[in-house]
C-alpha cells in the first residue's frame, strides 16, 4: 500500500516537476519581448471571455457594439499570434522568406484595417 502511495506521489512529483521544468524553461529562455506578447495575449483571451459572458447576461441589445468589442479581441489575438510566430528568429528555418520587419509590417496593416472596422461598428 505504502509503496503504491509512494509511487503515485512520485509520479505527481514527476508531473509537477515536468510542468515546473516547462515553466522554468519558459522563464529562462524566452526573450522578454515575447513574454510581454504572451501576457498580452492572455489578457486578450480574458477580455474576450468577459465580453462574451457579459453579452450572455445582459442580452443582445447593443449588438453591434458587442460585435466590435469581441471581434477586436479575436482579431488582435490572431494578429499578435502571427506576429509572434513570424518575428521569432527561431522559426527562420520554417518560414525563411518572412523577415521580422516584414512580419511587423503585415501586423501593422492588418491591425489598421481591423480597427477601422471595429471603430465604425462600435457606435
Amino acid at each position: 500500500m505504502s509503496s503504491t502511495k509512494g509511487s503515485s506521489s512520485t509520479t505527481e512529483k514527476n508531473e509537477k516537476s515536468d510542468i515546473q521544468i516547462l515553466w522554468d524553461n519558459y522563464i529562462e529562455n524566452t526573450p522578454g519581448k515575447y513574454k510581454i506578447m504572451d501576457s498580452y495575449m492572455a489578457f486578450i483571451v480574458m477580455m474576450g471571455v468577459i465580453q462574451f459572458v457579459y453579452c450572455f447576461i445582459i442580452g443582445k441589445e447593443p449588438w453591434a457594439t458587442f460585435l466590435a468589442g469581441f471581434i477586436s479581441c479575436v482579431g488582435s489575438f490572431v494578429l499578435i499570434a502571427n506576429l509572434r510566430i513570424q518575428s521569432n528568429p527561431n522559426n527562420m528555418k520554417e518560414i525563411p522568406k518572412i523577415t521580422p520587419e516584414r512580419s511587423y509590417a503585415d501586423f501593422f496593416v492588418c491591425s489598421v484595417i481591423l480597427y477601422l472596422f471595429v471603430i465604425s461598428f462600435i457606435g
Partner: protein, 454 residues
C-alpha cells in the same frame, strides 16, 4: 293645367327613354334562346328585367345576326343564355367567345336542361362542371311539388346572395350538374335535398353521376374581375309556368312558387345590381400627420384608413363588417390585423381604420386590404411603400450597457500601440536571450559574407 299635364308627360317620356337600370355595369342584355318563339315562355322573367330598366335584345342561337363581341368590344353588358339545346351557335359564339366576354367584365346567366348541347356542355366544362347525360333529370321522391317527383321544391339557400328568407319554395326541374369543386371562385347557391338523385325514366341500375346535396342546382361564380356568373341546370325554373305554378309540398300549399322572387334576386346579383362593394378611398399616414409620407421609418406609429361603400338596388350604403383585414407584406405578412369600423358619419360609406406600429424591419412593404367574401365583389387595395431603418442621428449611439465592449475594443487598440512600440524599439537586456538572438544574427552575417566572397 294643360301645360302642366304636357310637362309631366314630357318628363315621363324622357324618363322612359333614358330609363336606366340599377346595374352598375350597364343595361344592355342579350337573351339567347333556342327558338325565338320560346320568348313567350319566359315573358314574366323578361318583363321583370325590362321593368328594372334593362334593354333586352333577343336572338335565336341559330340566328346569323347573333353577335356578342364586335371589334374587340362587347356589344352587351349581360348575357342570358337560355339556349342549351343548340349544339353550335352562329358566328362562332361559343365557349371561347363567352369566356372572352366574361374577361371583359360581362355577366352571364346560363341555364342548361335535360338535352344540353355541346356548346353549353363545353361552356360548363370551362366553369369546372359536368352535366349529366341527356334525358336524365334530378329526381327527389321526398321533397317535390305535389306528385311530380322530377319537380323539386326547395326552400333553403346555401349562401345569402339572394333574399335570406324565401316566401315560397322554389320549383326546379332539370338536369343535374356536378361541380368538381376545384374552382375556388364558385360556390353553390341552391343544392338538392339529401334524397335526390339524377336518372331518367328507366330503373336505376348503377350509381348515378351525383346524388344528394352534391347535386348543384344553382351555382354562383364570381370571376377575378368581379364578373358574375350564374349556372343552373333548369331552364324551366325561369318559365311563366313555373313562376305561376302553385306549390304543394307535403301538407303545405302555396298559391304561387317562390321562383320569381328567387330569379329576381339572382339576376340582380348577377347583373351587378346588389352586393357590389367599392373602395372609395384608402389612405395611411403617420399618427399626427395627414399626408402619406414618402417612406416610413421602423417602429413609426401609423394610421390606416379605408372607406368602403356597398351598392344595393341603386343606393350606395355604408358597408358593415367586422372582418376586414390589413396586411403589411414583404414576401410574408409581417402584420395582419383586423380593421375597426368607425362610427358612420357619411350616409353612403363607412370607414375602417386602425393605428399600428410599423414592423421593426426595413424593406419595401405592400399595405394590402384583400377582402374576399362570397357574394360580395372582391376588394383588393394595395399600396407599396418603403420602410427605412433609423437614420444615424435618430437613435443613441453610445449606451451605458456597452461599456465593457468599449473597454474591450479600446484596450485592444491600446495593446496594438504597445506591441508596435515593443516590436520596433525593444531590445532585450538578458544575456542568454541576446546571445541566442545575436548568435543567429552572427550566423546570418557570416553566411552573407561567405556568399559575397563566393
Amino acid at each position: 293645367m294643360k301645360t302642366l299635364f304636357l310637362f309631366t308627360l314630357i318628363i315621363q317620356f324622357t324618363s322612359f327613354i333614358f330609363a336606366k337600370s340599377n346595374s352598375l355595369s350597364g343595361n344592355r342584355i342579350l337573351v339567347v334562346l333556342d327558338n325565338i318563339e320560346d320568348k313567350s315562355n319566359y315573358s314574366i322573367f323578361f318583363k321583370s328585367l325590362e321593368d328594372r330598366g334593362f334593354d333586352l335584345s333577343y336572338s335565336s342561337a341559330s340566328d346569323d345576326k347573333l353577335e356578342l363581341i364586335k371589334f374587340e368590344e362587347s356589344l352587351y353588358d349581360h348575357l342570358v343564355l337560355l339556349a342549351p339545346e343548340t349544339n353550335y351557335y352562329e358566328n362562332d359564339v361559343g365557349p371561347k367567345q363567352i369566356i372572352e366576354f366574361i374577361d371583359k367584365g360581362g355577366n352571364v346567366l346560363l341555364a342548361a336542361n335535360e338535352n344540353t348541347g355541346s356548346t353549353t356542355q363545353d361552356l360548363l366544362y370551362e366553369f369546372g362542371s359536368v352535366v349529366d347525360e341527356a334525358k336524365f333529370n334530378v329526381i327527389d321522391n321526398f321533397v317535390h311539388n305535389s306528385t311530380t317527383s322530377s319537380v323539386l321544391a326547395l326552400d333553403k339557400l346555401e349562401i345569402p346572395i339572394s333574399s335570406d328568407e324565401l316566401e315560397a319554395p322554389i320549383l326546379y326541374s332539370g338536369t343535374a350538374i356536378k361541380f368538381k369543386g376545384k374552382n375556388p371562385y364558385s360556390k353553390p347557391l341552391l343544392v338538392a335535398g339529401p334524397a335526390a338523385y339524377s336518372w331518367d325514366n328507366s330503373a336505376v341500375n348503377k350509381d348515378p353521376l351525383v346524388t344528394g346535396s352534391n347535386i348543384v342546382l344553382v351555382n354562383t361564380l364570381q370571376a377575378v374581375n368581379n364578373a358574375r356568373i350564374i349556372i343552373t341546370g333548369s331552364t324551366k325554373m325561369f318559365t311563366d309556368e313555373f313562376i305561376e305554378s302553385p306549390v304543394k309540398i307535403n301538407d303545405k300549399t302555396y298559391e304561387k312558387s317562390g321562383n320569381l322572387d328567387f330569379i329576381t334576386n339572382i339576376s340582380k346579383w348577377t347583373f351587378q345590381e346588389k352586393k357590389v362593394l367599392k373602395v372609395i378611398s384608402s389612405k395611411h399616414h403617420k399618427v399626427g400627420e395627414t399626408e402619406r409620407p414618402e417612406y416610413y421609418t421602423i417602429k413609426n406609429n401609423m394610421h390606416y384608413e379605408i372607406e368602403l361603400s356597398e351598392y344595393n338596388d341603386g343606393i350606395w350604403q355604408p358597408f358593415n363588417a367586422t372582418d376586414i383585414q390589413l396586411e403589411l407584406i414583404m414576401l410574408d405578412p409581417y402584420i395582419r390585423t383586423t380593421l375597426k369600423q368607425q362610427p358612420i358619419t357619411n350616409p353612403t360609406s363607412s370607414t375602417f381604420s386602425i393605428d399600428l406600429i410599423i414592423p421593426d424591419h426595413c424593406g419595401v412593404f405592400t399595405f394590402k386590404v384583400d377582402y374576399r367574401r362570397y357574394g360580395l365583389s372582391w376588394i383588393l387595395e394595395k399600396d407599396v411603400i418603403a420602410i427605412h431603418p433609423l437614420h444615424y442621428n435618430e437613435f443613441p449611439r453610445f449606451l451605458g450597457e456597452g461599456l465593457p465592449y468599449y473597454f474591450g475594443a479600446f484596450s485592444m487598440l491600446g495593446g496594438f500601440i504597445i506591441i508596435s512600440i515593443l516590436a520596433l524599439y525593444h531590445e532585450d537586456d538578458t544575456k542568454k536571450n541576446t546571445d541566442t538572438v545575436t548568435s543567429s544574427k552572427k550566423e546570418k552575417e557570416v553566411a552573407a559574407t561567405e556568399k559575397k566572397k563566393n
